[in-house]
Symmetry: C2
Subunit: 171 residues, 2 copies
């Protein structure tokens, strides 16, 4: 497993794409995925910023609040794959901007419940169409079947990852 020669011994030891000489970064799925995600996020970030002065974490929090208002910070953590530090800071900034308000939980003094202000709700309702429009644009090159396949693939991927990481991550 540790070839020391300068020239790798290709062509016999691995079936396909298996030897170093034939590795192609641009066909490597994790790379493709990362580039695609970053580009899509970048496009959205620019649009959210230009139209509403929102960052992606801010938009994500608003999106979840829109689904489950009122919701606690940890509820948002569960539904966004963002860590709690980022959520905490994002909620603070949304509060400062006057888009959300925090209220004490009636019985549990640890929780803060977040909901829209009137202004936050308006922004939310205006930004949803922008988000969906951008999603459609980005998917414009794909047929309905291809889009479905892409979604299925991503969900499958996430499922695989949960299994793989579960071995090491469930503490």
């Amino acid at each position: 497993m540790k070839p020391t020669s300068t020239v790798p011994s290709c062509g016999t030891d691995q079936a396909k794409r298996g030897c170093a000489g034939s590795f192609r970064l641009e066909e490597f799925l994790p790379y493709l995925l990362s580039v695609a995600a970053n580009r899509v996020s970048g496009l959205l970030a620019r649009r959210y910023q230009d139209a509403f002065g929102l960052t992606i974490p801010e938009w994500r929090c608003l999106a979840v609040i829109g689904e489950r208002e009122p919701i606690s910070a940890s509820g948002i953590v569960d539904r966004t794959a963002m860590d709690k530090v980022k959520v905490s800071r994002t909620l603070a900034s949304l509060e400062a901007k006057g888009f959300v308000q925090r209220a004490a939980h009636p019985t549990d003094g640890r929780l803060a419940l977040f909901s829209f202000t009137a202004r936050g709700r308006t922004v939310y309702e205006r930004i949803v169409p922008l988000a969906l429009e951008t999603e459609r644009e980005v998917l414009a090159g794909l047929s309905t079947g291809e889009e479905r396949a892409l979604r299925v693939g991503l969900l499958s991927l996430l499922k695989s990852l949960e299994e793989i990481e579960g071995e090491k991550n469930r503490f």
Copy 2:
């Protein structure tokens, strides 16, 4: 395009998923994509780090050097979707770790050409199988057809993005 009412007029104006009340973050493709990419990157990052002490940018540079050695920093920028600051720093770190070496370009004094050291080549040849193995694991839940569909979808997405961004980005 700018509804001012507090309550969105749902149910009639958009076919599906078109009004704020029905927006689902976890079905929003940019979000799915971002979560999937981050999780895959995270898994790889842990493995590269544990096995070889490499970060993802470092591995990306090594991957490109493995394809086109010797190559300049700007050549790597072109092939990795990383910005030149990150590439510059990553190459400096790879050089410090003794994995790559830099040489002056024979005729153009601006370019530095990077190639593997013996040690760097060894690491590269050992890390390629790890990368491919991880790719296979992550894709384990997908059939061959589904995997192809996912790849096609991602490439399509990237093509769409080039067109969309081209309008505003080609300076």
